[in-house]
Amino acid sequence: MGNIIKLSAILFFVAGIAAGSLAFYNSITKPEIAKLKAKNEKIARAYVLQGLFTEDQMSTLIYEEGEIDLDGTKEKFWKVKTSETGQYKALVFLAKGMGFSGVVETMIGTDLNFKINGIKVLKHTETPGLGAEVLTKKYEDIQKHGDNAKPFFEGWFAEKSSLKVVVVNDDLNSKDKVQSITGATITTRAVCKSINKYAELVQKQMGNMPRQLVIDQAQVVAAPKDAILKARAEAAAKAEAQKNTVVTEDTPEGGKDE
Protein backbone atom coordinates (compact mmCIF):
# COMPACT_ATOMS: atom_id res chain seq x y z
CA MET A 1 0.00 0.00 0.00
CA GLY A 2 2.78 2.36 0.99
CA ASN A 3 4.48 1.60 -2.30
CA ILE A 4 1.41 2.51 -4.31
CA ILE A 5 1.16 5.86 -2.55
CA LYS A 6 4.84 6.52 -3.12
CA LEU A 7 4.66 5.68 -6.84
CA SER A 8 1.51 7.77 -7.26
CA ALA A 9 3.20 10.68 -5.53
CA ILE A 10 6.22 10.44 -7.84
CA LEU A 11 4.04 10.27 -10.94
CA PHE A 12 1.94 13.19 -9.68
CA PHE A 13 5.08 15.20 -9.03
CA VAL A 14 6.53 14.52 -12.50
CA ALA A 15 3.22 15.36 -14.20
CA GLY A 16 3.01 18.55 -12.11
CA ILE A 17 6.44 19.72 -13.23
CA ALA A 18 5.60 18.90 -16.85
CA ALA A 19 2.33 20.82 -16.65
CA GLY A 20 4.04 23.78 -15.00
CA SER A 21 6.76 24.02 -17.61
CA LEU A 22 4.20 23.73 -20.42
CA ALA A 23 2.07 26.47 -18.88
CA PHE A 24 5.14 28.70 -18.76
CA TYR A 25 6.09 27.93 -22.36
CA ASN A 26 2.51 28.43 -23.50
CA SER A 27 2.52 31.91 -21.97
CA ILE A 28 5.53 32.75 -24.16
CA THR A 29 4.16 31.41 -27.45
CA LYS A 30 0.49 32.32 -26.99
CA PRO A 31 0.78 36.03 -27.93
CA GLU A 32 2.96 35.10 -30.93
CA ILE A 33 0.42 32.56 -32.15
CA ALA A 34 -2.46 35.02 -31.65
CA LYS A 35 -0.54 37.76 -33.47
CA LEU A 36 0.18 35.42 -36.37
CA LYS A 37 -3.44 34.34 -36.56
CA ALA A 38 -4.67 37.93 -36.63
CA LYS A 39 -2.12 38.82 -39.30
CA ASN A 40 -3.09 35.87 -41.47
CA GLU A 41 -6.75 36.70 -41.06
CA LYS A 42 -6.10 40.28 -42.15
CA ILE A 43 -4.12 39.17 -45.21
CA ALA A 44 -6.79 36.63 -46.13
CA ARG A 45 -9.57 39.23 -45.82
CA ALA A 46 -7.74 41.63 -48.11
CA TYR A 47 -7.09 38.74 -50.52
CA VAL A 48 -10.72 37.77 -50.93
CA LEU A 49 -11.79 41.40 -51.41
CA GLN A 50 -9.24 42.14 -54.14
CA GLY A 51 -10.82 44.01 -57.01
CA LEU A 52 -13.90 45.19 -55.11
CA PHE A 53 -12.11 48.27 -53.86
CA THR A 54 -9.43 50.59 -55.18
CA GLU A 55 -5.98 50.30 -53.63
CA ASP A 56 -6.47 53.50 -51.62
CA GLN A 57 -9.73 52.21 -50.26
CA MET A 58 -8.20 48.85 -49.40
CA SER A 59 -5.84 50.40 -46.90
CA THR A 60 -8.63 52.22 -45.06
CA LEU A 61 -11.30 49.53 -45.03
CA ILE A 62 -13.22 49.09 -41.80
CA TYR A 63 -14.14 45.56 -40.83
CA GLU A 64 -17.05 45.31 -38.45
CA GLU A 65 -17.15 41.96 -36.75
CA GLY A 66 -20.34 39.97 -36.47
CA GLU A 67 -21.14 36.51 -35.24
CA ILE A 68 -23.15 33.65 -36.61
CA ASP A 69 -24.40 30.82 -34.51
CA LEU A 70 -23.56 27.39 -35.89
CA ASP A 71 -25.20 24.74 -33.74
CA GLY A 72 -24.04 26.47 -30.60
CA THR A 73 -20.55 27.48 -31.70
CA LYS A 74 -19.95 31.08 -32.64
CA GLU A 75 -18.24 31.86 -35.92
CA LYS A 76 -17.01 35.24 -37.05
CA PHE A 77 -17.95 37.21 -40.13
CA TRP A 78 -17.19 40.77 -41.16
CA LYS A 79 -19.19 43.53 -42.72
CA VAL A 80 -16.87 45.73 -44.72
CA LYS A 81 -17.18 49.42 -45.45
CA THR A 82 -14.94 52.15 -46.75
CA SER A 83 -14.03 54.90 -44.36
CA GLU A 84 -15.03 57.57 -46.95
CA THR A 85 -18.69 56.76 -47.47
CA GLY A 86 -19.28 54.69 -44.36
CA GLN A 87 -21.55 52.41 -46.36
CA TYR A 88 -21.33 48.68 -46.24
CA LYS A 89 -19.97 47.33 -49.48
CA ALA A 90 -18.94 43.76 -48.87
CA LEU A 91 -19.04 40.76 -46.58
CA VAL A 92 -16.29 38.41 -45.54
CA PHE A 93 -16.98 35.12 -43.81
CA LEU A 94 -15.32 31.85 -42.97
CA ALA A 95 -16.66 28.47 -44.02
CA LYS A 96 -15.68 25.07 -42.70
CA GLY A 97 -16.71 21.78 -44.23
CA MET A 98 -15.70 18.16 -43.87
CA GLY A 99 -13.59 17.18 -46.85
CA PHE A 100 -12.14 13.76 -47.63
CA SER A 101 -9.68 13.52 -44.78
CA GLY A 102 -10.42 16.51 -42.57
CA VAL A 103 -11.90 19.95 -42.32
CA VAL A 104 -11.45 22.31 -45.25
CA GLU A 105 -11.54 25.92 -44.12
CA THR A 106 -12.10 28.72 -46.59
CA MET A 107 -12.56 32.46 -46.39
CA ILE A 108 -15.06 34.05 -48.76
CA GLY A 109 -15.43 37.66 -49.80
CA THR A 110 -18.77 38.64 -51.35
CA ASP A 111 -20.71 41.74 -52.21
CA LEU A 112 -23.93 42.51 -50.32
CA ASN A 113 -25.89 40.25 -52.68
CA PHE A 114 -23.65 37.34 -51.68
CA LYS A 115 -22.01 37.21 -55.10
CA ILE A 116 -18.52 35.80 -54.55
CA ASN A 117 -15.62 38.13 -55.24
CA GLY A 118 -12.86 35.80 -54.10
CA ILE A 119 -12.24 32.79 -51.93
CA LYS A 120 -9.13 31.56 -50.17
CA VAL A 121 -8.51 28.07 -48.86
CA LEU A 122 -7.05 28.63 -45.41
CA LYS A 123 -6.63 25.12 -44.12
CA HIS A 124 -7.03 21.59 -45.37
CA THR A 125 -5.60 18.11 -44.83
CA GLU A 126 -6.60 16.64 -48.17
CA THR A 127 -4.66 14.04 -50.14
CA PRO A 128 -1.68 15.46 -52.01
CA GLY A 129 -2.24 15.16 -55.75
CA LEU A 130 -6.03 15.00 -55.35
CA GLY A 131 -7.86 17.19 -52.82
CA ALA A 132 -4.73 19.19 -52.08
CA GLU A 133 -5.01 20.54 -55.64
CA VAL A 134 -7.21 23.25 -54.11
CA LEU A 135 -3.98 25.13 -53.46
CA THR A 136 -2.12 24.22 -56.65
CA LYS A 137 -1.12 27.06 -58.91
CA LYS A 138 -0.88 26.38 -62.59
CA TYR A 139 2.61 26.61 -64.04
CA GLU A 140 1.55 29.03 -66.76
CA ASP A 141 -0.11 31.27 -64.14
CA ILE A 142 3.11 31.35 -62.13
CA GLN A 143 5.04 32.27 -65.27
CA LYS A 144 2.54 35.02 -66.07
CA HIS A 145 1.87 36.47 -62.61
CA GLY A 146 4.86 35.35 -60.53
CA ASP A 147 4.16 35.52 -56.82
CA ASN A 148 0.70 36.97 -57.44
CA ALA A 149 -0.51 33.83 -59.18
CA LYS A 150 -3.58 32.34 -57.54
CA PRO A 151 -4.57 28.69 -57.22
CA PHE A 152 -6.78 27.79 -60.19
CA PHE A 153 -9.45 26.34 -57.90
CA GLU A 154 -10.10 29.69 -56.24
CA GLY A 155 -10.66 31.33 -59.62
CA TRP A 156 -13.62 29.04 -60.37
CA PHE A 157 -15.72 30.65 -57.67
CA ALA A 158 -15.53 34.27 -58.82
CA GLU A 159 -18.91 35.83 -59.71
CA LYS A 160 -20.86 32.80 -58.46
CA SER A 161 -23.55 33.18 -55.82
CA SER A 162 -22.25 32.01 -52.48
CA LEU A 163 -25.75 30.90 -51.55
CA LYS A 164 -26.16 28.67 -54.59
CA VAL A 165 -22.71 27.61 -55.75
CA VAL A 166 -22.77 23.90 -56.55
CA VAL A 167 -20.54 21.21 -58.03
CA VAL A 168 -21.35 20.61 -61.69
CA ASN A 169 -22.02 16.88 -61.11
CA ASP A 170 -24.78 17.79 -58.68
CA ASP A 171 -26.61 20.29 -60.84
CA LEU A 172 -25.80 20.59 -64.54
CA ASN A 173 -28.23 23.43 -65.16
CA SER A 174 -27.21 25.79 -62.40
CA LYS A 175 -25.55 29.00 -63.50
CA ASP A 176 -23.58 28.92 -60.26
CA LYS A 177 -21.86 25.62 -60.93
CA VAL A 178 -18.14 24.97 -60.54
CA GLN A 179 -16.18 22.05 -61.95
CA SER A 180 -14.98 19.44 -59.53
CA ILE A 181 -11.28 18.85 -59.18
CA THR A 182 -10.36 15.61 -60.95
CA GLY A 183 -10.51 12.79 -58.42
CA ALA A 184 -11.56 15.12 -55.63
CA THR A 185 -15.29 15.70 -56.03
CA ILE A 186 -15.70 15.21 -52.28
CA THR A 187 -13.35 18.09 -51.53
CA THR A 188 -14.96 20.38 -54.10
CA ARG A 189 -18.43 19.49 -52.84
CA ALA A 190 -17.34 20.10 -49.24
CA VAL A 191 -16.15 23.60 -50.14
CA CYS A 192 -19.36 24.42 -52.06
CA LYS A 193 -21.67 23.08 -49.37
CA SER A 194 -19.81 24.83 -46.56
CA ILE A 195 -19.95 28.11 -48.48
CA ASN A 196 -23.72 27.68 -49.02
CA LYS A 197 -24.29 26.87 -45.37
CA TYR A 198 -22.28 29.71 -43.92
CA ALA A 199 -23.57 32.22 -46.47
CA GLU A 200 -27.11 31.29 -45.49
CA LEU A 201 -26.30 31.80 -41.81
CA VAL A 202 -24.71 35.16 -42.51
CA GLN A 203 -27.71 36.14 -44.58
CA LYS A 204 -30.00 35.14 -41.74
CA GLN A 205 -27.92 37.14 -39.32
CA MET A 206 -27.99 40.16 -41.63
CA GLY A 207 -31.72 39.66 -42.12
CA ASN A 208 -32.21 39.86 -38.39
CA MET A 209 -30.82 43.32 -38.51
CA PRO A 210 -33.06 46.13 -39.68
CA ARG A 211 -32.46 47.07 -43.29
CA GLN A 212 -31.29 50.57 -42.42
CA LEU A 213 -28.45 49.07 -40.46
CA VAL A 214 -27.05 47.56 -43.59
CA ILE A 215 -27.31 50.78 -45.52
CA ASP A 216 -26.63 53.43 -42.95
CA GLN A 217 -25.04 52.72 -39.64
CA ALA A 218 -23.53 55.99 -38.53
CA GLN A 219 -24.91 55.80 -34.99
CA VAL A 220 -24.57 52.06 -34.84
CA VAL A 221 -20.81 52.33 -34.86
CA ALA A 222 -20.89 54.52 -31.78
CA ALA A 223 -23.09 52.26 -29.69
CA PRO A 224 -23.65 49.08 -31.61
CA LYS A 225 -25.61 46.99 -29.13
CA ASP A 226 -28.09 49.65 -27.99
CA ALA A 227 -28.58 50.94 -31.48
CA ILE A 228 -29.21 47.47 -32.86
CA LEU A 229 -31.78 46.76 -30.17
CA LYS A 230 -33.45 50.11 -30.67
CA ALA A 231 -33.42 49.80 -34.43
CA ARG A 232 -34.80 46.29 -34.19
CA ALA A 233 -37.65 47.44 -32.01
CA GLU A 234 -38.40 50.31 -34.40
CA ALA A 235 -38.30 48.01 -37.41
CA ALA A 236 -40.60 45.55 -35.71
CA ALA A 237 -43.04 48.32 -34.83
CA LYS A 238 -42.93 49.61 -38.39
CA ALA A 239 -43.51 46.15 -39.83
CA GLU A 240 -46.45 45.71 -37.49
CA ALA A 241 -47.86 49.07 -38.55
CA GLN A 242 -47.46 48.18 -42.22
CA LYS A 243 -49.23 44.89 -41.70
CA ASN A 244 -52.14 46.73 -40.19
CA THR A 245 -52.16 49.15 -43.05
CA VAL A 246 -52.31 46.38 -45.60
CA VAL A 247 -55.28 44.91 -43.83
CA THR A 248 -57.10 48.23 -43.78
CA GLU A 249 -56.25 48.94 -47.40
CA ASP A 250 -58.06 45.78 -48.37
CA THR A 251 -61.29 47.14 -47.08
CA PRO A 252 -62.86 49.55 -49.58
CA GLU A 253 -63.59 52.21 -47.01
CA GLY A 254 -61.07 53.65 -44.65
CA GLY A 255 -57.34 53.47 -44.52
CA LYS A 256 -56.90 55.45 -47.73
CA ASP A 257 -55.68 58.49 -45.96
CA GLU A 258 -52.83 56.55 -44.37
Partner: protein
Protein backbone atom coordinates in the same frame (compact mmCIF):
# COMPACT_ATOMS: atom_id res chain seq x y z
CA UNK B 1 31.80 1.55 -28.56
CA UNK B 2 33.41 4.95 -28.88
CA UNK B 3 31.48 8.18 -29.13
CA UNK B 4 31.83 8.61 -32.88
CA UNK B 5 30.55 5.09 -33.55
CA UNK B 6 27.76 5.74 -31.08
CA UNK B 7 26.82 8.84 -33.08
CA UNK B 8 27.05 7.39 -36.57
CA UNK B 9 25.52 3.98 -35.95
CA UNK B 10 22.03 5.46 -36.33
CA UNK B 11 22.75 6.81 -39.82
CA UNK B 12 22.76 3.49 -41.69
CA UNK B 13 24.06 0.56 -39.61
CA UNK B 14 21.24 0.74 -37.08
CA UNK B 15 18.98 3.15 -38.93
CA UNK B 16 15.71 3.24 -36.96
CA UNK B 17 13.45 3.04 -40.01
CA UNK B 18 15.50 1.15 -42.57
CA UNK B 19 17.09 -1.46 -40.28
CA UNK B 20 15.28 -1.49 -36.93
CA UNK B 21 11.90 -0.89 -38.62
CA UNK B 22 10.79 1.53 -35.90
CA UNK B 23 8.62 4.63 -36.45
CA UNK B 24 7.16 3.30 -39.70
CA UNK B 25 3.86 5.12 -39.25
CA UNK B 26 5.19 8.68 -39.71
CA UNK B 27 7.68 7.35 -42.26
CA UNK B 28 4.74 6.29 -44.42
CA UNK B 29 2.37 9.12 -43.62
CA UNK B 30 4.33 12.35 -43.96
CA UNK B 31 6.79 11.42 -46.69
CA UNK B 32 4.77 12.90 -49.52
CA UNK B 33 7.26 15.71 -50.08
CA UNK B 34 10.87 16.32 -49.08
CA UNK B 35 9.88 19.43 -47.15
CA UNK B 36 7.50 17.43 -44.95
CA UNK B 37 9.98 14.58 -44.49
CA UNK B 38 12.74 16.96 -43.45
CA UNK B 39 10.47 18.90 -41.10
CA UNK B 40 9.18 15.76 -39.44
CA UNK B 41 12.70 14.36 -39.11
CA UNK B 42 14.01 17.53 -37.47
CA UNK B 43 11.05 17.85 -35.11
CA UNK B 44 11.46 14.21 -34.04
CA UNK B 45 15.21 14.69 -33.58
CA UNK B 46 14.62 17.66 -31.29
CA UNK B 47 12.14 15.67 -29.20
CA UNK B 48 14.48 12.67 -29.14
CA UNK B 49 17.46 14.68 -27.92
CA UNK B 50 15.44 16.55 -25.29
CA UNK B 51 13.65 13.53 -23.88
CA UNK B 52 16.71 11.23 -23.94
CA UNK B 53 18.77 13.81 -22.08
CA UNK B 54 16.18 14.37 -19.36
CA UNK B 55 15.42 10.66 -18.98
CA UNK B 56 19.10 9.85 -18.69
CA UNK B 57 19.51 12.59 -16.07
CA UNK B 58 16.58 11.29 -14.02
CA UNK B 59 17.21 7.58 -14.48
CA UNK B 60 18.25 7.08 -10.86
CA UNK B 61 15.08 8.68 -9.51
CA UNK B 62 12.58 6.94 -11.76
CA UNK B 63 11.18 3.77 -10.12
CA UNK B 64 11.22 0.97 -12.69
CA UNK B 65 7.53 0.11 -12.01
CA UNK B 66 6.32 3.41 -13.41
CA UNK B 67 9.13 4.22 -15.84
CA UNK B 68 6.98 3.96 -18.97
CA UNK B 69 4.33 6.52 -17.87
CA UNK B 70 7.09 8.86 -16.72
CA UNK B 71 8.91 8.50 -20.06
CA UNK B 72 5.68 9.26 -21.88
CA UNK B 73 5.01 12.36 -19.74
CA UNK B 74 8.52 13.66 -20.47
CA UNK B 75 8.24 12.90 -24.19
CA UNK B 76 4.77 14.47 -24.40
CA UNK B 77 6.10 17.62 -22.74
CA UNK B 78 8.84 17.97 -25.34
CA UNK B 79 6.44 17.26 -28.19
CA UNK B 80 4.07 19.96 -26.95
CA UNK B 81 6.95 22.42 -26.69
CA UNK B 82 7.99 21.64 -30.28
CA UNK B 83 4.38 21.89 -31.44
CA UNK B 84 3.93 25.31 -29.83
CA UNK B 85 7.30 26.49 -31.17
CA UNK B 86 6.39 25.50 -34.72
CA UNK B 87 2.96 27.11 -34.44
CA UNK B 88 4.47 30.36 -33.18
CA UNK B 89 7.63 30.64 -35.26
CA UNK B 90 7.44 28.28 -38.28
CA UNK B 91 3.69 28.25 -39.02
CA UNK B 92 4.04 26.95 -42.58
CA UNK B 93 5.71 23.75 -41.38
CA UNK B 94 3.23 23.42 -38.55
CA UNK B 95 0.42 23.55 -41.08
CA UNK B 96 1.87 21.00 -43.45
CA UNK B 97 2.74 18.47 -40.74
CA UNK B 98 -0.52 19.07 -38.92
CA UNK B 99 -1.58 16.17 -36.74
CA UNK B 100 1.70 14.30 -37.11
CA UNK B 101 3.54 16.59 -34.72
CA UNK B 102 1.38 15.65 -31.70
CA UNK B 103 1.68 12.05 -32.84
CA UNK B 104 5.45 12.12 -32.27
CA UNK B 105 4.49 11.26 -28.67
CA UNK B 106 3.70 7.72 -29.74
CA UNK B 107 6.60 7.39 -32.16
CA UNK B 108 8.24 4.18 -31.01
CA UNK B 109 11.76 5.37 -31.87
CA UNK B 110 11.61 7.87 -29.05
CA UNK B 111 10.20 5.54 -26.41
CA UNK B 112 12.45 2.80 -27.78
CA UNK B 113 15.62 4.84 -27.33
CA UNK B 114 14.46 5.99 -23.88
CA UNK B 115 13.88 2.42 -22.76
CA UNK B 116 16.79 0.73 -24.53
CA UNK B 117 19.48 3.38 -24.19
CA UNK B 118 18.84 6.57 -22.22
CA UNK B 119 17.56 4.83 -19.09
CA UNK B 120 20.80 2.85 -18.85
CA UNK B 121 23.64 5.00 -20.22
CA UNK B 122 25.30 8.28 -19.26
CA UNK B 123 23.79 11.66 -20.16
CA UNK B 124 26.41 12.50 -22.80
CA UNK B 125 26.15 9.11 -24.48
CA UNK B 126 22.36 9.32 -24.48
CA UNK B 127 22.49 12.73 -26.15
CA UNK B 128 24.90 11.47 -28.79
CA UNK B 129 22.80 8.37 -29.40
CA UNK B 130 19.62 10.45 -29.66
CA UNK B 131 21.21 12.89 -32.12
CA UNK B 132 22.53 10.02 -34.27
CA UNK B 133 19.22 8.18 -34.27
CA UNK B 134 17.34 11.40 -35.04
CA UNK B 135 19.60 12.11 -38.00
CA UNK B 136 19.17 8.51 -39.16
CA UNK B 137 15.39 8.91 -38.98
CA UNK B 138 15.63 12.17 -40.94
CA UNK B 139 17.84 10.52 -43.60
CA UNK B 140 15.31 7.71 -44.02
CA UNK B 141 12.37 10.12 -44.28
CA UNK B 142 14.12 12.35 -46.80
CA UNK B 143 15.14 9.34 -48.87
CA UNK B 144 11.61 7.95 -49.02
CA UNK B 145 10.02 11.35 -49.60
CA UNK B 146 12.46 12.25 -52.39
CA UNK B 147 11.51 9.11 -54.31
CA UNK B 148 7.80 9.65 -53.70
CA UNK B 149 7.78 13.35 -54.52
CA UNK B 150 9.74 12.86 -57.72
CA UNK B 151 7.76 9.88 -58.96
CA UNK B 152 4.46 11.34 -57.83
CA UNK B 153 4.70 14.94 -59.04
CA UNK B 154 7.90 15.15 -61.08
CA UNK B 155 9.20 17.75 -58.64
CA UNK B 156 11.96 17.84 -56.04
CA UNK B 157 11.62 20.22 -53.09
CA UNK B 158 8.69 21.80 -54.92
CA UNK B 159 10.66 22.61 -58.11
CA UNK B 160 8.96 21.07 -61.15
CA UNK B 161 12.11 19.60 -62.69
CA UNK B 162 10.56 18.40 -65.92
CA UNK B 163 8.80 21.68 -66.60
CA UNK B 164 11.96 23.62 -65.80
CA UNK B 165 13.79 21.50 -68.37
CA UNK B 166 11.07 22.33 -70.87
CA UNK B 167 9.52 18.85 -70.93
CA UNK B 168 5.76 19.37 -70.92
CA UNK B 169 3.09 16.89 -70.04
CA UNK B 170 4.77 14.87 -67.27
CA UNK B 171 2.06 14.37 -64.71
CA UNK B 172 3.69 11.96 -62.27
CA UNK B 173 1.94 8.95 -60.85
CA UNK B 174 -0.42 10.07 -58.11
CA UNK B 175 -0.27 6.57 -56.63
CA UNK B 176 3.25 7.29 -55.43
CA UNK B 177 1.98 10.09 -53.19
CA UNK B 178 -0.91 8.01 -51.90
CA UNK B 179 -0.38 5.31 -49.26
CA UNK B 180 0.41 2.48 -51.76
CA UNK B 181 3.35 4.53 -53.04
CA UNK B 182 4.61 4.83 -49.48
CA UNK B 183 4.53 1.08 -48.90
CA UNK B 184 6.07 0.40 -52.29
CA UNK B 185 8.93 2.85 -51.82
CA UNK B 186 9.63 1.75 -48.28
CA UNK B 187 9.56 -1.92 -49.27
CA UNK B 188 12.01 -1.35 -52.11
CA UNK B 189 14.40 0.68 -49.93
CA UNK B 190 14.24 -1.84 -47.06
CA UNK B 191 14.84 -4.62 -49.57
CA UNK B 192 17.83 -2.79 -51.02
CA UNK B 193 19.32 -2.26 -47.53
CA UNK B 194 18.99 -5.97 -46.71
CA UNK B 195 20.39 -7.03 -50.07
CA UNK B 196 23.34 -4.70 -49.55
CA UNK B 197 23.90 -6.07 -46.03
CA UNK B 198 23.88 -9.68 -47.21
CA UNK B 199 26.16 -8.87 -50.15
CA UNK B 200 28.65 -7.19 -47.81
CA UNK B 201 28.55 -10.09 -45.36
CA UNK B 202 29.23 -12.52 -48.20
CA UNK B 203 32.13 -10.43 -49.47
CA UNK B 204 33.81 -10.19 -46.08
CA UNK B 205 33.08 -13.88 -45.42
CA UNK B 206 34.75 -14.75 -48.73
CA UNK B 207 37.92 -12.99 -47.70
Amino acid sequence: MNKLQNFTKGFFKENPVLILALGLCPALAVTTSIENGLGMGMASTAVLIGSSTIISMLKKFIPSNIRIPIFIVIIATFVTIIDLTLQAFIPSLSESLGLFIPLIVVNCIILGRAEAFASKKSVLNSMIDAAGMGIGFTIALVLISAVREFAGTGALLGFPLFQLMGIEGFKGSIMMILPPGGFLTMGLILGFMQWNKIRKAKNTGGK
